[in-house]
């Protein structure tokens, strides 16, 4: 098997290739240790618990971000080759070792520790919920594979938003209102596109994307205003009225007819009109719309 490793010595990037007879049951971390011990002592990488708990050994293997200690070579090898690279989105310090300071400091930004203010007794049900949202091991895989972060490094990222949601829903915490105001700002909850890379790659199996949705639900329920909440409320109103989205009118409701934001919708609208592509302004509701409206009235959640 050919193992190709992306290297960096502080000055330049290069690759090292090793042809090895590997037992297919070896993990990626074990392969790296084997190379370091028997072939090239200068190779740098991180490995901690070797048991999927500490989250420090995340690397990119054949273009997929994984935990080295939980990934067997046989499950990821393609054409008898594996390419091991450092995680994307992090500055490389040496070889496969990346600088995770900014990622970890996001925890300070979102105040990741709860600040107890009440004597609320935590129920079994509360604990079950907190268990599912507290399983993050801070491996950085979601951060490195987030499509939004790739083009906007100011975005706080999936792991921090998951932690934010965890804090908001911890009934012992006394900062809920301050927290929500903070997470409602640009580059926080509303900037996720739900590309679901985080959910798909999370080695802990956390449905990160769905928890970000739940965080947004909290923001809307608290009545916090934002471009996101105004878009979402306009969207639901349109479905209630028409059954399908009225694409001619809802953009205007989404921007609340704000004259400063008309430039976002008018040029594209006119352009589509010229090509006779624009949806009709007079949008007839779907047949049986009363059924939809009835469900809107009856189902509150």
């Amino acid at each position: 098997m050919e193992v190709i490793i992306s290297r960096f010595n502080g000055k330049k990037r290069y690759t090292s290739k090793f042809n090895l007879a590997l037992k297919p049951d070896l993990t990626v971390s074990e392969v790296l240790m084997l190379i370091k011990n028997s072939h090239d002592g200068s190779l740098s990488f991180r490995a901690g618990c070797r048991n999927g708990v500490c989250g420090i050994c995340a690397v990119k293997v054949n273009n997929k971000s994984v935990l080295g200690c939980k990934t067997k070579v046989k499950d990821i090898v393609v054409d008898d080759k594996i390419l091991i690279e450092p995680l994307d989105m992090f500055p490389v310090i040496k070889d496969l070792v990346v600088d995770i300071d900014n990622f970890i400091e996001n925890n300070i930004d979102i105040r990741s520790a709860i600040v107890s203010s009440s004597t609320h007794k935590t129920s079994q049900e509360d604990m079950r919920h907190l268990d599912t949202v507290s399983n993050c091991i801070q491996c950085g895989i979601c951060f490195s594979s987030c499509d939004v972060l790739n083009v906007n490094q100011s975005f706080i990222g999936p792991a921090a938003l998951l932690r934010a949601y965890r804090c908001v829903t911890d009934k012992r915490d006394g900062l809920k209102n301050q927290r929500l105001k903070h997470y409602n700002k640009e580059n926080y909850a509303w900037d996720c596109t739900h590309c679901e890379n985080c959910t798909t790659l999370c080695p802990q199996g956390i449905n990160v994307s769905e928890h970000i949705s739940s965080l947004r639900k909290e923001l809307i329920e608290q009545g916090l205003k934002s471009k996101g909440s105004s878009h979402h409320l306009a969207f639901l109103k349109s479905i209630n009225k028409h059954g399908l989205l009225n694409e001619a009118s809802y953009p205007f409701f989404s921007i609340n007819f704000n004259p400063l934001r008309l430039k976002e919708v008018l040029p594209v609208g006119l352009r589509m009109l010229r090509k006779r592509k624009s949806p009709g302004i007079f949008h007839k509701p779907i047949k049986n719309i009363e059924e939809v409206r009835k469900l809107f009235r009856e189902v509150k959640e």
Partner: protein
Amino acid sequence: MKVAYYPGCVAKGACKELDLSVRLVLERLGIGVTELDTASCCGAGVMNEVKPKLNHVLNARTFSMAEKLNLDLMTICSTCYGRFKSSNQYIKQNLDAINKEIKKIKTSYNGNVKVKHFVEVLNDYGLDELNKKVKKPLRTLKPAVVYGCHLLRPHAVENNIMENVCKSLHSKPINFESKGRCCGFPILMTNRKTSLKLAGKVLTDAIDNGANCLVVSCPLCHMNYDSLQPEVEKVLGRKIKLPVLHLSQLIGLALGLTMEELGMDKHIVDCDKVYHLVHL
């Protein structure tokens, strides 16, 4: 072969050419459709952030229509596909609770509907069969196919299914790292610049890898890549002018249909170049 056809919002609104071309292609292939014309929006990943239960209940109403027809439900949008797949999974696990709600509009759902994307229906039809129907081989086309997040995540279609369809039409899909990337459309109204940059990343990656058109499986992607391409160009400070085709239009070209029949004259980015390449 017959399917229950769910067009969704965008194919009935800002991407009418998608509905038009899908119908034509299915007709030419002899695949029957019954349109679910009383169905509502899938929720598009928006409704579940305001009223998640209502979202599932409305989708159960839609599924019940396909179930009564005893047909697979076909979507032509990656977003509808992802939402429906997730919703169907949830509903099956909570059948009683959901049925209690849709009983109020005198309907019921037993959880028997299979959700399929247009590209999966083509795959079921058989790519060899599709290949036999080709009148105009697309040998000169090098499409960059993009899946739209929700054909891949959280529920993935068969590996390389889009590329395989393209190959059966004799086109040569490029190797392209961005095929699974996000188009940015979901945050167009919340963070416009990031949204356009996301679209730009895919469009430029396609050009830089030698594509002469982009082929999409989702009308929301089409909006960001085509209707908003002039804005993307502004944000990137780079000319793009890459024609963006719905998968159904690519197939339509191979079946010998014209630009007008397929609604390609409605696109913002001119598709003449693509048509001329095919009809060299």
